[in-house]
Structures are given as C-alpha cells and as structure tokens.
C-alpha cells in the first residue's frame, strides 16, 4: 500500500537526518589495543596526483590491519593542507610544501616520493631538446614560434596548469625563477588533460608528471638531459618536486604505522616507481 511505503520512507529520512546530527558527536580517530593491532579509521585528503599511491597504500594497509579502514579523498593539495591543519583529517597529501599560512599549525612533513616533471610537446614538433633559457623564453611568451628555437615554422601553443597548482609551482621554481608565465597560455586542470591537450594540438608544449609520458606525446631534453629517474637521482635533471604527506604533530598509532609502511623499502620499491615517482631512499641526501 502506497501509504505505508511513503510513511516508511519519511521515517527512514528522519532517521538519516538524526544519524547525521548524532554522528557530529562521534570522533573517528584510531586506537591501538594491546597486541599491536589497530582499529578505527585513517582519513587522507588532498592532492589528486598522489591519489593512486595513497589508495594503493590504503589497500595494502587494510590487508595488514583488517580493523582499520583508510578513507582517501581528493580536492587538491591545499584542501589536504587545510584539512589536516584543522584536524579534520589525519593525513594531508600535497604536491607542494606548506606555505606561511600553515607554519604555526604544527604540521609534520613526510616526503614519500619524488615526482620528476617532463617537458612534453606535440609529436609533430621537430625539436628534441631545449635549453633552460629557451624554455624560459617560451613559457614567458617571448618566443612564440618553433622556428626561433630550432624547429619548423609553427606557432607555439602553451598548455599548462593553473598558477596555484603544484606542477606549475615546480616549473616556476626550477625553470622560470623570478619571471612570470605568459598569462595567455591555455590552462588545463590535470596531468591527463594536459597530455590530451598537447597530444591533439599541433605546436603545443606542456609539462606533466613523468608517469604520464606515453606515445601520444614527445618528451624533450632540457639542456641535453632526458627526463628519466636515473638523471634525477644523479642530479642532472633538475625539474622535480617532492610529494608530501603531512600530519598534525608527530603521527601516532595507526597513522604512524601507515606512514611507516608507505616509507618502508618494500612498499617504496614495489609501488612508487610504478607510478612514475622516484622512491625517496634513492635520492642522495
């Protein structure tokens, strides 16, 4: 009977609203019991680029500690920083080091991987390498045609990331220095979009995490050095950034176990390289 069902629905809804309010009182921290087993919840938020790595860690951690669930959410590097600084999540994932706004919040940095950035061009561009000075000229909009940097007569299309993104911050820090990006360049929202944009736009140049390099685009050498893990480790290729997991204060219990697992040689060797990152242990101190 319709009447019944509708009333039941209303009751369920009321119950749900009630649950929402009740849950406000509950906290979702994690706790340890005597024998080193943890239970509860670990929440991670922030960088989408770090998402796959954190999700993998969550799966492996869950296999080890079945009573702990690890929730991963995106939103961006600074969502991660803000959320962890406010104590709303246990771990904030970020592509960039925290800024002045967060320096008094007691955040503890855990660098979990190194992310090399490749300079990529459309496969039709017949330039194999650029000097750092040429890159600066291109990204600041001083040079607008490939013929001025040794290529064919074709307009250069810059496809980058938004000013606040970790990727763009890395290029700015390692290539441009105190100069500014040409604001007229196109901006896309993610590694995947930039790769797609560069692949489909003749004369395009952009930058993505090394993991996103595939046959649809061409990587160029910078100052004669190719973007490879080995060249980053040896110190010859300079365009890379640290990937961070932040905690508020020193991590404890399950969160500590989680971070320990991510930093362990086993996890780093098996997983980090697969994502195109470089294990932290490989980098010279």
């Amino acid at each position: 009977m319709n009447l019944n069902r509708r009333n039941v629905l209303t009751i369920i809804a009321a119950a749900l609203v009630g649950t929402t309010l009740l849950a406000a009182g509950c906290s979702n921290g994690s706790a340890a019991n005597g024998n080193g087993q943890f239970s509860g919840k670990i929440s991670v938020a922030g960088s989408t680029a770090l998402g796959p790595l954190v999700k993998q860690a969550a799966d492996e951690f869950g296999a080890k500690y079945p009573k702990v669930s690890v929730d991963v959410s995106g939103g961006g590097s600074f969502v991660g920083l803000s959320q962890v600084a406010a104590g709303a999540v246990d771990i904030g994932a970020s592509d960039v080091a925290y800024t002045d706004e967060y320096k008094d919040k007691g955040l503890v940095d855990h660098v979990v991987a190194i992310a090399p950035f490749a300079i990529i061009v459309n496969p039709g561009v017949n330039v194999d390498g650029l000097t750092k000075a040429q890159l600066v000229d291109i990204f600041t909009g001083k040079v607008t045609n490939w013929k001025d940097v040794g290529g064919q007569n074709q307009a250069i299309a810059i496809i980058g990331r938004s000013p606040a993104s970790g990727s763009r911050a890395t290029i700015k820090a390692t290539v441009l220095g105190d100069k500014d990006f040409d604001p007229k360049g196109a901006v896309l929202n993610s590694n995947g979009d930039v790769r797609k944009g560069v692949a489909t736009t003749p004369g395009a140049i952009g930058y993505v995490d090394l993991a996103f390099v595939d046959s649809s685009i061409k990587t160029v050498k910078v100052d004669g050095v190719a973007c490879t893990a080995d060249n980053v480790i040896s110190g010859q290729y300079k365009i890379y950034a640290n990937e961070h997991l932040y905690t508020k204060g020193e991590p404890k219990d399950a969160v500590k176990a989680f971070l320990d697992m991510v930093m362990s040689a086993d996890f780093q060797d098996r997983n980090v390289a697969k994502l195109g990152f470089i294990p932290v242990s490989k980098m010279p101190k």
Partner: protein, 319 residues
C-alpha cells in the same frame, strides 16, 4: 500511521458510543494532521535554511576578502595575479557572461525549433523518440560533455579556424548550448502547449498557414514562458563547471577573441579552490566569485519572476 487508518474507518454513526469514539478519533486525527502539517512546513523551511547556510558560508569568506581588497578593485580589476597581490575578477566575469551569451545565441534558436517541433509538428512516434532523447541529453554527466568537447570539438575548431589551440569561448559556448537544450526545450514546450487551443484554432480558421499561426500567434502568446525558459537556461549555463573548464583553456585574461583561451567564474573556482591556502586572499577571492555567481543567479530568478508576472497579467487581460 495506524491513526490515519483508524481515522478512515471513523464513519459517522448514530449511536452514542459511536459519537464518543468519533470525538476521540477526531482529536487524534487532528493531532496527526497537525504533525503532518508541521513536517511539510519544516521541509519547506529546510530549503530556506540550506540556502541561508550556503550564503553565510560563501559570504563570510567573501567578506574576509573585502577587508583586504577593495570591492571595486575586485569587481573591475582587469588583472588576476594573486602572486602580485592583484585580485581582479573582471576577466572571469566577462568570460562567464560571454560564454553564457554565446550558449544562448546558439542554444535558444535550436531549442526553440526543437520545442516547436515537439509541441506542434512531431508525430506521436517522433515524440516518443525525441522526448527520451532530450531527457538523456540532460542525464549525460558533464565530465562526458567536457571530454567529447576536448577530444572532438576543440580540435575541430582549431582545424577550421587556423587558431593555435581551438580552446576558448566558442568551444565553451557550443558545449553549453548543447547542455542547456534539455532545460530550454522542456520549458519552452510547456509554454507553447499552455497557449489556449482556441487562439490557435481561431488563427487557423482565418486561413493562415500552420507556420504563420506558429510564428505570429503561438510564439508571441507563449513569449513570457519562452523568455523564462531562456533565463533559466542562462542560470544553468552560467553555473556549469566541469565541462566548461575542459574546453575553455582557462587563461585568466580578458579574451581578445572567441578562439583564444579564456576563463569563467566557475572554471576559475574549480581550478584554484583546491590549490590555494584556506583563508588566503586568493582563496577568499574564489569564494567572492562564488558569491558573485549566486547574486547573478538571484538577479536572473527575479527576472524570471517579472516575466511570469507579465505572463499572468497578459493572460488576465486576454480573458
């Protein structure tokens, strides 16, 4: 629940016992009635609370911006460069208005034609195909629209325009035009159908062709409804996010043309919200852009109300 059922069985009886029972049941009936009325009212008030909470949340951050940046410098500033302390939102405002305008320019004629077809020309069988098709168009996730736009539309525009990338307001306008079609068509069709049949029959009886009737009688009579459909489509277009930012190119500058990278309020919000520190002027400026969007939408809604009033006034005059 049970009270409602008992209530229904409480048919008037003539015996004294029956009357007593009846009075008792009436009392209970009135109680449950009051509870339901309260619940209905609470549901309605919940909507007011929701929008108020959103406005407070967005407004608080925006207000924080205006302690650091003058409102006029925000609204009419032509340069967005947070790293240099410049928080001009004009490029995004211009982009939003231009993309929306373009979407209406393309979408409204097409949608009006679709609505006329559905309301007046289509056979029942064609309607059975067309209507679910339009519903489906409304149901396609915006990420899919954006992806098709990025992989098919942007390269198409680039090839045929000779521009460097193909990103820009034109691509955004076309994608948005397709995305507002369902809203516009269904509302415009309702408006066309709401025109009293006798007006139409009267015109046809005068020996006009079908099209003359549509163009000179039907559309003018339905005009306030069509205008409302247009305004609601506008609200839909100006708030769309995920699809637009994939085809727009997102340069924070006032665009010099339709096929150069440009930005809108929504694209800028989605692009930078997650990557600016909470409480920083740049982050607050994004909330201020959200407030601006809300205010624009509010203005559009008030415009719709005005056209509706006009419509009712028109109908009243006609009678």
């Amino acid at each position: 629940m049970s009270a409602l059922n008992t209530g229904r069985t409480a048919v008037p009886t003539q015996t004294g016992v029956g009357a007593a029972v009846r009075t008792r049941l009436r009392g209970r009936r009135r109680d449950t009635g009051a509870i339901w009325r309260g619940l209905f009212f609470a549901s309605a008030i919940f909507l007011v609370i929701s929008i108020a909470a959103i406005l407070v949340m967005v407004g608080r951050q925006a207000a924080a911006l205006f302690t650091q940046v003058r409102p006029l410098a925000f609204l009419f500033g032509r340069v967005w460069a947070p790293e240099h302390g410049l928080y001009g939102a004009l490029p995004f405002l211009v982009g939003s208005l231009a993309a929306t305008g373009l979407a209406l320019l393309i979408g409204v004629p097409l949608g009006l034609a679709g609505a006329i077809y559905l309301a007046k020309l289509a056979t029942p069988r064609a309607q059975r195909v067309m209507r679910p098709a339009i519903e489906l168009l409304a149901g396609i996730p915006s990420v899919v629209y954006g992806w098709v736009g990025l992989t098919a539309l942007v390269p198409f525009i680039r090839r045929h325009s000779g521009h460097v990338t193909g990103f820009g307001l034109l691509a955004a306008g076309v994608v948005l035009a397709v995305m507002v079609l369902p809203t516009f068509i269904s509302l415009a069709e309702d408006a066309l159908r709401a025109v009293p049949q006798d007006i139409e029959h009267g015109s046809l009886a005068l020996g006009t062709t079908r099209w003359q009737t549509i163009a000179h009688v039907l559309i003018p009579a339905a005009w306030p409804g069509i205008a409302a459909a247009g305004i609601l489509s506008m609200a839909r277009a100006i708030g769309e996010t995920m699809a637009v930012q994939m085809v727009l190119g997102n340069s924070p500058v006032i665009p010099a043309g339709l096929i150069v990278p440009a930005s809108t309020l929504t694209s800028e919000i989605v692009l930078e919200m997650g990557s600016t520190p909470q409480g920083s002027p740049a982050n607050n400026a994004l909330f201020a852009m959200g407030l601006l969007l809300l205010l624009i939408s509010l203005g559009l809604i008030i415009a719709v109300r005005a056209t509706r009033k006009e419509a009712t006034a028109g109908v009243r005059q006609a009678h």
